[in-house]
Assembly symmetry: C2
């Protein structure tokens, strides 16, 4: 869940005095997002989200995240726009943590994914990639392939307790992924964590869902654009029984390619990128599973869900099997 | 934290179609409250709170809770007002649980209590007690003195593991409280859980806090009115080091008595009522502590905090020591 830091009334009041947001009308902790503390803030000027960045976020990365959101919002993407204070700063300190206020986005994230969500998703992802072209800052993907061996090491001693043979399987999978990892594919600003709870939808006049918000850019980085697609294949295209829904994948990829066609190399690389993305979520969940103290306020997510997805992508015959 | 039940988009849509609330604009889990799942709902008609009642709430009690809130709101109390659907019903089913939509209340609950909060609190509590007079339904206090022996029994086997000698101390405290528990004091509708996170404040034009919301009536019951004051003495009048702040208590009691003067018997009973309230929160926290599985999404609250409060009230010389 997502309130780790309580802010005193006086500290909140002093913080808000740095902005031209009018009077404080309400302030409630939000139960979504797991990395930071998030509050819904209502002021005389409307609805906002106050985020306190907790220890998992490197403060040195915050200028990149906030500037990227601002850049994308200015380009018309429905993503949170950092609100600047009277002094021009969007990032300041609150309760001993870096903190920022962003605009509130309407919409509801889909609890059950339908095929109708997929074209709007692919469209929004492509628009995000295109809009990111003009953004000059760079951030390495700390959870990209270069980081996976170290992450696996930190789980090694305990992971076999979760499932016997797990470490040997992951060692082999990682070695193969790293050996096949593509070079020279188009790079840009990627979200890198575009799960369903980070995408808000509202119904359009035709009754079909439209993307009304892309949120939580705190894993965003500069990496292969097609890797973002691979993340979405993992996050959006499996049924509850872990079968792959190629119709969803195809709808997403078609809408994406309508705005940014994939190169032959990107299309060919999609299976290994999807294996890499599966391994990335498997490893971070495994790490959290092994290292979360019992009784912590965070819901641990089952790492083995991603072992099943990894195995699916390993067995996939080629990009066609992934809807590409 | 407070989202136990996820609602599918289709179920939410069908549920909202029973109301005249306009289009759904946003829907976010709220991280506050521990008993039920709460969502902030924004529609074309404004802001609302959707609550799904989880297993701790007896569905048979819900008509009482909702009718009481509606009665108090109609009397001018700033408490959530249940929204009725097209069929007139305020209570229906969602995701297999009883569910209701209530109005959203502005304000912020105080993270740090100041003396200035106490008179508005006392005033609001007295107004609630007076407004409850015209409410005909009754609900026994399931967590009142009649329930404490059974609650203590269910902790007996494990409580000494938390602190050696705890059970012997609680046995003695409970026996004394039950022996001294008053009869014949004025009864009425009480909140029974009026902790700081259940009271919202907004600053008035004079810069002083005013109560803008009383929430979470899901422990409300028909019991001694002065017991509600005793709960507030426990919940609002201790410093972080567990010293009792008699200035706060006095400010609350004075404002309360300005609207509903305490009888001599109520004032005399205040210390034992305060001991009882301390024991009540000690026992339920102890039960949760002993019975919450590791890894659960709920933050366990330290039961020993209330042992210190209980001991303070046991040692208190009389009502004067509690500000009465």
């Amino acid at each position: 869940m997502a309130v780790y830091t309580e802010v005193s009334d006086e500290a909140l009041r002093a913080f808000l005095a740095e902005y031209e947001l009018g009077e404080l009308l309400a302030y409630r902790g939000i139960a979504e997002g797991v990395e930071n503390s998030n509050y819904a803030l209502k002021t005389g000027r409307g609805d906002f989200i106050l985020t306190l960045y907790e220890k998992r976020v490197d403060p040195a990365d915050l200028p990149y995240f906030l500037a990227l959101m601002e850049h994308l919002a200015a380009a018309g993407l429905p993503c949170p726009t950092p609100v600047h204070g009277r002094d021009g700063a969007a990032l300041r300190q609150l309760a001993g943590r870096p903190a920022a206020i962003c605009t509130f986005l309407p919409g509801v994230w889909p609890r059950r994914i339908r095929t109708e969500h997929m074209a709007p998703l692919g469209d929004a992802l492509a628009r995000m990639h295109l809009a990111g072209r003009g953004f000059a800052m760079r951030r390495a993907n700390a959870l990209g392939p270069a980081g996976w061996p170290a992450l696996l090491e930190r789980c090694r001693a305990l992971a076999d307790g979760i499932q016997p043979g797990l470490i040997a399987e992951l060692d082999a999978a990682l070695a193969a992924i790293l050996a096949e990892w593509p070079a020279g594919l188009p790079e840009g600003q990627i979200h890198a964590d575009l799960f369903p709870d980070n995408v808000f939808f509202l119904d359009g006049p035709d009754g079909l869902p439209r993307v009304s918000g892309l949120i939580d850019f705190y894993f965003a980085c500069t990496d292969l654009l097609a890797y973002d697609i691979a993340v979405c294949l993992n996050a959006w295209c499996f049924e509850a029984d872990y079968s792959f829904n190629v119709t969803r994948a195809r709808a997403m990829l078609r809408a994406y390619a309508a705005l940014r066609p994939l190169s032959v190399e990107e299309r060919t690389a999609l299976p290994v990128l999807a294996r890499g993305a599966a391994l990335r979520f498997l490893l971070t969940r495994l790490f959290d599973w092994v290292h979360t103290p019992p009784g912590a306020m965070v819901t641990r997510k089952d790492p083995l869900e991603y072992l099943r997805k990894l195995r699916f992508f390993q067995a996939a015959a080629g990009p066609e099997a992934l809807g590409a």
